[in-house]
Symmetry: C2
Subunit: 302 residues, 2 copies
C-alpha cells in the first residue's frame, strides 16, 4: 500500500489558503517528500502526516518556492526526534544549495546529498519505495519523479514443498533471497511467479510537457502534474516560463495512459481552479483539481 | 502616526495557527519589518499589511525561525512590483547569510546589507522612522531594535512673520531645513520650539533580560518582548537557551517605564499563552498576550 498526500497546491507564492506545492508518499513507515517550499513543515502538520519518518527528500529544482522550507523542515524533524540519515536528491548544484540553505540550520542527523540530471537510470529508495528521476523542461535544470512500489510474483507453495524447502526459509525466498537446501542453491525465482503489477505515481511540476513524463508515467496509478494556468489562453506565458496549462497536463496523462491525474501548482491569479476543470477533463476524464491535504491510499489490484 | 502589527507569535516552529514571530511598523508609506521566518510573507498577507513598501528589514539573529522566509518575501516584493532598494540590517555575518539565502532568489532590486553589533550608535531609517539596534544576550549574537518617530517642536508663526519669512518657506523650516531671507540665513531652530515627545517602540526577542532593553525602551509607547515560557518554572530552560519568561519580560517593561507590553515568541508547548497572562500583568499591568495580526495605531500625544 502506498499512501499519498498532496500537501500544497500553490505555485510560486504561498497564499493564505494555499500552501506551496509539495507531495508526500509513505509505505510501511518510510516516507518520501517531493519539493519543500516555504511553509511545507506547516502543510505537513496540517495534513496530519509525519515529518519524522521522511527518509528521502526529492527536489525538482532550486527555485525558492520548491526549496525555501528545507532548513525549517529539517530542524523540525530533528526536534521531533529524528536521528537517522536523511537522503536529499536533486539536480546538479544540490550540494552548493544545501550548504547555503543549511547555514541557518544544523539538524541532528546526517544528510546524504545526491545530484543527478535524471539521465543515468539512478534509483533511490525510501523503504520499499523505488524512486527514479527523469529530466523535464523548465527554465532551469529540473527533474520529474517516478515513485514505484514493486510487487513480487505469487509464491508457489506446492513447488516450495516439492523442493523440500523448510517453512522457515519461505520468507527469505518470498523476499527475493536465496537459500541452500540439501546442498542445492534455491533462488527466489524458482518458487515465485513473475512480478505482478505494483503501484506507480509520477510527480512533475515546473516544466513544459515532455515525452519523459509520458514515458515514466506509462500506465501510472496517479500522475500529479502542474497546471499553473487553467486554459489554453495562457499558453504563451506557459511557454515563456516553462510551465503547463490544464489542457497540456491532461494531454500528458492521456498519452501516458495513466489512471488518474491530479493538477497542482496553481498560479496565484487562478482564484478558482475548479472552474477550469473541464478544460482538462474533456481531454483526460479522470482529472481532479488538487486541494491542499488531498489524500489517497493506493492498493495493489489483482 | 506609527502603525504597528505583530505578524506572528510562534517561537522556533511555525504552527498551523501561529506564524513565526515578526513585527511590522509603517509610517507615511514607509515600512520596517523585523525578523522574517518561514511564512512571514503569508503572515503579511493575512494581516492585510503591504510587503511592497518595506524599505528596511531588521534581523535579530540568524536562526532559521527568524530568517527562513527572507528569500520568499523578497521575491514576492519583486513580484508585487518593487524596484526600489531594500535595506537589510543584522548582526555581523549578515552578508554571508544573505549570499547563502539568496542563492535561490534574485529579486529585481538592490539589497543594501549593513552589519552591526549594536554598539556603534548606528541609526538606520525607513522614511521618517529612525531605527537603532542594541545588543542583547542570546546563544548567538543577537540584536534588539528601537524604532522611533521623532516629533519636531511647535512652529512659531508669529516669530516667522516677525522675521519676514515668506509663507512658501515655512514648510522648509518646519522640516528642519534653512532658508535665506533678506540675505540672512534662517535656521529651523529659530522658528521651531524644542522637539516634542515622539513615538517609541522596542522589539526584542531571543534574549535573556538585559539592561540594554530597559535603556532603549525607556518610556516607550510599546515594548514587544519575547515570553517563550509562561511561568518562572521554566527559568532554567530560559537561561540555558537564552530566552525570557513572561515574568522576566514584565520586569523589563516595568524597569523601562514603558506604557504597554506585548508578549510573543511562544514555545510550541505553550498551548494557551492567555492562561499565563497574570504571571506578567501582576508585575506590569498593561501587558497583552500577542496574537497573530494584532495591530495598534500609535499617535502623538499632546
Amino acid at each position: 500500500m502506498l499512501d499519498v498526500c498532496l500537501l500544497g497546491t500553490a505555485g510560486m507564492v504561498p497564499l493564505r489558503n494555499r500552501f506551496l506545492t509539495s507531495f508526500y508518499a509513505v509505505s510501511d513507515g518510510h516516507a518520501v517528500l517531493t519539493d519543500c517550499g516555504e511553509g511545507t513543515q506547516v502543510a505537513i502538520a496540517s495534513a496530519g502526516v509525519r515529518a519524522k519518518i521522511i527518509d528521502t527528500i526529492l527536489l525538482t529544482h532550486f527555485h525558492a518556492d520548491h526549496v525555501g522550507g528545507l532548513a525549517g523542515l529539517l530542524l523540525s524533524m530533528g526536534n521531533a526526534g529524528r536521528t537517522e540519515d536523511v537522503t536529499i536528491v536533486g539536480p546538479p548544484g544540490l550540494a552548493k544549495i544545501l550548504r547555503c540553505l543549511l547555514v541557518v540550520a544544523a539538524p541532528p542527523f546526517r544528510i546524504l546529498a545526491f545530484e543527478t540530471d535524471g539521465s543515468d537510470d539512478d534509483v533511490f529508495h525510501a523503504g520499499s519505495i523505488q524512486i527514479r528521476p527523469f529530466p523535464v523542461n523548465h527554465v532551469v535544470p529540473c527533474l520529474g519523479w517516478q515513485l514505484t512500489l514493486p510487487r513480487p510474483g505469487r509464491f508457489d507453495a506446492d513447488r516450495a514443498r516439492a523442493l523440500d524447502i523448510p517453512l522457515s526459509a519461505w520468507k527469505i525466498l518470498q523476499g527475493g533471497g536465496e537459500v541452500k537446501v540439501n546442498d542445492r542453491i534455491i533462488r527466489s525465482d524458482m518458487v515465485m511467479g513473475p512480478p505482478r503489477r505494483g503501484l506507480k505515481v509520477v510527480y512533475s511540476t515546473d516544466s513544459r510537457p515532455t515525452d519523459s513524463m509520458a514515458a515514466f508515467g506509462r500506465d501510472a496509478d496517479l500522475m500529479v502534474l502542474e497546471g499553473i494556468y487553467g486554459d489554453e489562453g495562457k499558453i504563451e506565458k506557459a511557454e515563456t516560463w516553462g510551465h503547463m496549462t490544464f489542457p497540456e497536463a491532461a494531454e500528458v496523462a492521456k498519452k501516458a495512459g495513466a489512471r488518474e491525474l491530479w493538477l497542482t501548482h496553481f498560479s496565484q491569479a487562478l482564484d478558482d481552479p475548479d472552474a477550469c476543470l473541464p478544460n482538462a477533463s474533456a481531454i483526460f476524464p479522470n482529472t481532479r483539481v488538487g486541494k491542499d491535504g488531498m489524500k489517497k491510499s493506493l492498493r495493489f489490484t489483482d
